[in-house]
């Protein structure tokens, strides 16, 4: 390829984009390998001897390990529930016409847009009365308010793309609707279900407000613990950044897997 000024500008622009998107992430990861002295150095050190001490410290800290475990349990359980409840609903929305369908849509979309603080207040009072504060269950259930709409939306989209001929043939063989759902729609819709499950996991893993309000000590999730280090005078920066890296790494990998669907997941499919 000949190098014109246009191509050079294009390359420079793209490099700038990559630097812009990766820099804060890089800065966190590099701080997680620095000693406290290197982090506190001014001007900042760009070249340093990496240390694994911060990671040793957090993996020895039962609080961090416990929090990551809690996050895993909660995100996995709520995702499983969302798929279990959402996939059949998506099947109905994709295949049937019935009254109130558009109202149902509206309700799902509203859930995507509502601030968690609106539900956090009443759920806090209800959980307090039911003695459910600081349990896995309360977070698993409340996370369904945003997971279920995501799963329903993405799966509906996927199920609609399955050709109806298959269903016709199955019906000639005498299959009922449940069998058709299980034998045709679930296997053929598997990619969409997987994408929706990954989104559901990412959103649950990343959530802070509900977790902050509805947990005390036993069920603190990873983001809650990471932010709890942010108090006092001498902040353990290396430890905080190592915890941040441990939290972000798994979801980043998941997000890269579904990167082609990122826009669909975040807009609930309004832009195709």
């Amino acid at each position: 390829m000949r190098l014109s000024s246009g191509t050079i500008l294009h390359a420079l622009g793209l490099t700038a984009v990559i630097l812009f998107t990766l820099f804060p992430f890089y800065w966190m990861v590099s701080a997680s390998f620095k000693t406290q002295a290197d982090i506190l150095a001014s001007p900042p050190v760009w070249v340093f001897t990496p240390t694994l001490d911060n990671y040793r410290e957090i993996f020895a800290d039962s609080k961090v390990i416990g929090a990551v475990g809690n996050s895993l349990i909660i995100a996995t359980a709520t995702t499983a529930l969302a798929v279990l409840l959402g996939a059949p609903a998506a099947f109905a929305l994709a295949r049937y016409e019935f009254r109130g369908k558009s109202d149902l849509w509206f309700w799902f979309i509203s859930n995507r847009m509502t601030s968690p603080i609106v539900l956090a207040l009443p759920v806090y009072i209800l959980a307090l009365q039911l003695r459910m504060l600081d349990t896995h269950l309360v977070l698993i259930l409340i996370y369904l308010t945003f997971n279920l709409p995501i799963v329903v939306w993405i799966c509906t989209d996927q199920f609609k793309s399955i050709p109806p001929d298959l269903e016709q043939a199955a019906r000639l063989d005498g299959a009922d609707q449940f069998t058709i759902f299980r034998k045709i729609y679930l296997p053929l819709g598997a990619p969409g279900i997987a994408v929706s499950a990954i989104f559901s996991f990412i959103f649950s893993w990343n959530e802070l407000l509900y977790a902050l309000v509805l947990t005390r000590r036993d069920v603190q999730t990873a983001p809650v613990v990471a932010t709890s280090f942010m108090s006092g005078y001498e902040l353990p920066w290396g430890k905080i950044m190592a915890t941040g890296t441990v939290i972000v790494l798994p979801v980043t990998i998941f997000a890269l897997i579904v990167s082609r669907h990122m826009v669909r997941g975040l807009t609930m499919g309004a832009t195709k």
């Binding site: 294009h10 390359a11 812009f20 966190m28 847009m113 609106v118 009072i125 983001p223």
Partner: protein, 304 residues
């Protein structure tokens, strides 16, 4: 059943009863009702009560519209709404402009490897846990050793006490939001650009060498639905914005970053005035529902 007999041709294609969709939908709808609608109704009821759990001796008496009156006359609540609007008006033009530039760079032919790499890295900010974005912000904008001040020094501008000053803290949360959400705009615009039929774009390129004319007359119509989606979704997101700001500034210093979700959280869970906080939350919900209506009316009509 009457509908089915009036359209006899459809009958062999259907083969399900009237209640079949109900059984598939019931578990999801029932669950969402219990965890979504019931608490919302509970919040409405709470908003008509004096409900301060820090003072349980007062009981929780019904007080009519008193909470709503005190919220609507509360200057701080209005200030937090205005600040949220100011935040939206500040971040959005930058995110749209940068996002469009990035999308055009990614849409341009050539630079295959660098382009796919950039495309992939765009996902990183979007997936980063919002609370961790706040932690990174605390590190980057630290007054004494933050890298932001090092950049300013390198540019010959003196360092700032970012998180310790009113305008600095606001600027800091604006920058972190721009970092996290510009990729979202870029991806939406990129999707719009790729909708332009290849032949039309080719033909237009032969007609004019002006990139601006191409953008305005050929590509812009395809970008409009995405732009509308952005305007509405980002406004809902800003009304929801809590995690990153809470971690970075807790709404301070003073009330410099006291966005509406942060303020309601403080009234509810620091002052424990759940009655007032519920009234505020219900007002926020009303705003959101209006936005959702707009979103559906404008966008889903076009898609379907």
């Amino acid at each position: 059943m009457t509908r089915m007999t009036s359209q006899p041709k459809l009958r062999p294609n259907r083969g399900y009863g009237r209640w079949t969709p109900f059984w598939f939908l019931a578990p999801a709808v029932f669950t969402l009702f219990i965890i979504g609608i019931y608490p919302t109704i509970f919040a409405v009821v709470t908003s008509f009560r004096r409900y301060n759990i820090a003072r349980p001796r007062d009981g929780f008496p019904f007080i009519g519209l008193e909470n709503y009156i005190s919220v609507l006359t509360d200057g701080t609540f209005w200030a937090s709404l205005f600040l949220t609007a100011k935040f939206y008006i500040t971040v959005l033009p930058v995110e749209i402009a940068l996002g469009l530039m990035i999308a055009l760079l990614l849409h341009k032919t050539g630079m295959g490897f660098l382009k796919s790499l950039a495309r992939v890295t765009l996902v990183v900010p979007l997936a980063t846990t919002y609370a961790v974005v706040g932690l990174i912000g605390r590190l980057i904008f630290n007054r004494d050793f933050g890298v932001a001040n090092w950049f300013l020094d390198a540019l010959g501008i003196g360092g700032l006490d970012w998180l310790g000053s009113q305008s600095g803290a606001f600027a800091a949360i604006v920058i972190m939001d721009i970092w996290q959400w510009t990729p979202f705009c870029a991806l939406i615009f990129l999707a719009g650009l790729s909708m332009v039929p290849g032949e039309i774009e080719e033909a237009a390129r032969l007609e004019t060498s002006s990139k601006w004319a191409l953008l305005k007359h050929v590509q812009l119509p395809y970008l409009m639905p995405g732009l509308t989606a952005l305007l509405i979704l980002r406004s809902a997101d800003v009304l929801k914005l809590f995690d990153m700001v809470f971690v970075m500034t807790r709404g301070g210093p003073g009330s410099a970053t006291d966005l509406v979700s942060i303020y309601i959280q403080r009234v509810g869970f620091r002052i424990f005035d759940l009655g007032t906080a519920s009234a505020q939350a219900i007002l926020l919900l009303v705003i959101t529902v209006l936005l959702s209506r707009l979103y559906i009316r404008v966008l889903y009509k076009e898609v379907n």
